[in-house]
């Protein structure tokens, strides 16, 4: 029994940032990177299923990214995933979610997992594309924004809840193997223990090229034309010390509340 979890090292902007010279991205110097928040939940969900299943189950984490993305794999391995796969090729530098999904589909064909978990979306561009595009390419059953899951390792169906708008949830059953995109709050992700972090260093990580996956190119479904800062809002900034700011805020509150 095997669960494949896709993980992504996402970028966050520094408080101040500059665009690249070609205006199609943010200058790398102003980016900080970390494991996508959603992926903490999908890794946890896989580990819970593995632990309930006993020793026969394996959790494999896969990322498409350059060396920076190793950290994402190590974080997941430190929590308890068994091994990692990192796929990279410079040709992927501008890949969108669909292009990434084409690569991941090849990994799924190789690994033949019983289940694939992805995050519901990435914190950087929030496109919410990769997981469900992967399902489409594989022709697998799928559900997005899963906030509750009943699945025992190797089962033919899973029962899940999809989180909808306004706190409503739909209960749905789905044929397995399936691709599920996992929503925040589905579980309480663990932190890696010191022992886990140490062990992660020994765990195997396969590094694959597009060649290894028999892919010569992967086309994206979109292209970034231009990236730019939005026009600033009209917010009136309240300056001064914290005491002065709070005093002004209290005035605003009292005025607007007719107090």
């Amino acid at each position: 029994m095997k669960i494949l979890v896709t993980v992504k090292q996402v970028a966050f902007l520094d408080d101040e940032f500059e665009m690249r010279d070609d205006d199609r991205g943010v200058d790398e110097d102003f980016l900080e990177k970390d494991l996508n928040e959603f992926d903490h939940y999908s890794v946890e969900e896989a580990l819970l299923i593995k632990e309930a299943a006993g020793d026969d189950a394996e959790v494999v984490v896969v990322t498409v990214g350059d060396e920076d993305a190793d950290d994402a794999l190590r974080t997941a391995l430190a929590k308890g995933a068994d091994r990692g796969i990192r796929v990279w090729d410079d040709a992927l530098a501008e890949a969108d979610g669909v292009a990434i999904a084409k690569v991941l589909a090849k990994v799924v064909e190789r690994e033949k997992p019983d289940m694939v978990f992805t995050g519901a979306q990435s914190a950087d561009f929030g496109s919410a594309v990769t997981g469900m595009a992967l399902a489409g390419l594989l022709g697998w059953p799928h559900a997005a924004v899963v906030c509750n899951l009943e699945y025992s390792a190797g089962a033919n169906t899973a029962t899940l809840r999809r989180e909808l708008e306004g706190g409503l949830e739909e209960v749905m059953s789905v044929r397995c193997p399936a691709v599920l995109s996992i929503q925040l709050g589905i579980n309480e992700p663990r932190y890696a223990s010191l022992r886990g972090i140490k062990q992660a260093k020994q765990k195997p990580v396969d590094e694959l090229s597009l060649d290894d996956l028999d892919l010569d190119s992967v086309g994206s479904a979109s292209r970034v034309r231009r990236m730019y800062a939005p026009e600033k809002g009209q917010a009136e900034l309240i300056a001064g010390s914290a005491a002065e700011q709070a005093k002004r805020l209290a005035e605003i509150i009292k005025e607007l509340r007719g107090m």
């Binding site: 408080d15 999904a101 950087d124 594309v129 909808l164 749905m172 925040l184 800062a229 917010a235």
Partner: protein, 317 residues
């Protein structure tokens, strides 16, 4: 002439108004004798025709099937429409349902794709969609070189719902063949709010991840009470169990429907949080990050540490 298609949606038989926002987005790029068609799958699709008879819609494609949400069926519908009509654009609202089928269909059909778009235009004949990135701190213009059909999901509240009356022709279409892998089993309504009324409150003090630690939360409950505000929160605070879900403002929580004054402390201003409060006339943002997108919708801004501001406020109420 180009075919433009919007996939309208219903949930449990109820029409989804966001479908009309997608119509507006597409209407904006409609030219000359382009044909705008809106397709809907439902147990009784005719029931939804009046809601879709708005200005600019030339045709409603009524697919009589089920009111259950079946991503495989919707994908098959998009597949059939792309094959039969070679549309230049297929659009759907960026609701949670679309997350399950739009990327799937686009990948399978090798279409162009952009999700959560907030702007759309034709630039010299090229379709250009605008979306946001990095927690709403940048905008991105996206195009689709070489793609004959582009699938788009349209951000909620970015376009006005289409209005004005129209008299579209109605085409009945048999449901496309689909291998449906999911079964609707039921609904789970939101948990009881326990008397917390975000929707009814005129004054909300909301805290986000900037609050730092669970032990700090109590202080804001007290501050809210002394100010006469209802305490709200962003999603991570509810996910962590620091405050009940009934206090969560946003797309998967509550809409601050009657709010007139909203103070957001330590909230970055994600699109999902904004969904619940962006409309409020008086928004005050307190955030250490001067670039936080919450400032772009605020009337007043304080760049500073919420803990310090809260402590000072306590002395003033």
């Amino acid at each position: 002439m180009a075919n433009l298609i919007v996939i309208a949606e219903q949930r449990d038989g109820e029409f989804r108004e966001t479908s009309l926002e997608a119509v507006t987005a597409i209407r904006g790029i409609k030219q000359g004798d382009d044909k705008l068609s809106v397709a809907i799958i439902a147990a009784d699709p005719q029931k939804h025709v009046p809601a879709l008879s708005v200005e600019g819609v030339d045709e409603v494609i009524a697919v009589k099937a089920t009111d259950d949400f079946q991503p495989d069926l919707l994908e098959a519908l998009i597949g059939a429409l792309v094959k039969d009509r070679a549309p230049s654009v297929v659009a759907v609202a960026h609701g949670v349902d679309a997350w399950s089928f739009a990327p799937t269909a686009a990948a399978r059909l090798d279409c162009g794709l952009a999700t959560d778009i907030m702007g759309l235009k034709l630039d010299d004949g090229d379709l250009v969609a605008t979306r946001a990135g990095y927690a709403e701190k940048v905008l991105v213009d996206i195009d689709f070189p070489g793609k004959e059909t582009v699938l788009l999901t349209v951000r909620t509240n970015a376009f006005e719902p289409a209005s004005g009356s129209g008299s579209p022709e109605v085409t009945e279409m048999a449901p496309p063949e689909a291998d449906v892998a999911t079964t609707h089993e039921g609904w789970k309504p939101p948990a009881d709010a326990g008397g917390i009324d975000i929707g009814g409150s005129e004054f909300i003090l909301s805290i986000g991840r900037g609050v730092g630690d669970e032990s700090n939360v109590e202080q804001y409950l007290e501050l809210a009470e002394s100010m006469g505000a209802t305490l709200g929160c962003s999603r991570p605070i509810a996910d962590n169990g620091w405050l009940p879900k009934a206090r969560q403002v946003g797309q998967s929580g509550q809409l601050a429907a009657n709010c007139k004054l909203y103070i957001a402390m330590g909230v970055s201003g994600s699109v999902q949080h904004q969904w619940g409060m962006k409309h409020v006339e008086n928004i005050v943002a307190v955030n250490t990050d001067p670039e936080a997108s919450i400032f772009s919708i605020a009337r007043y801004g304080i760049v500073g540490d919420m803990a310090e501001i809260a402590e000072e406020l306590e002395n003033l109420f």
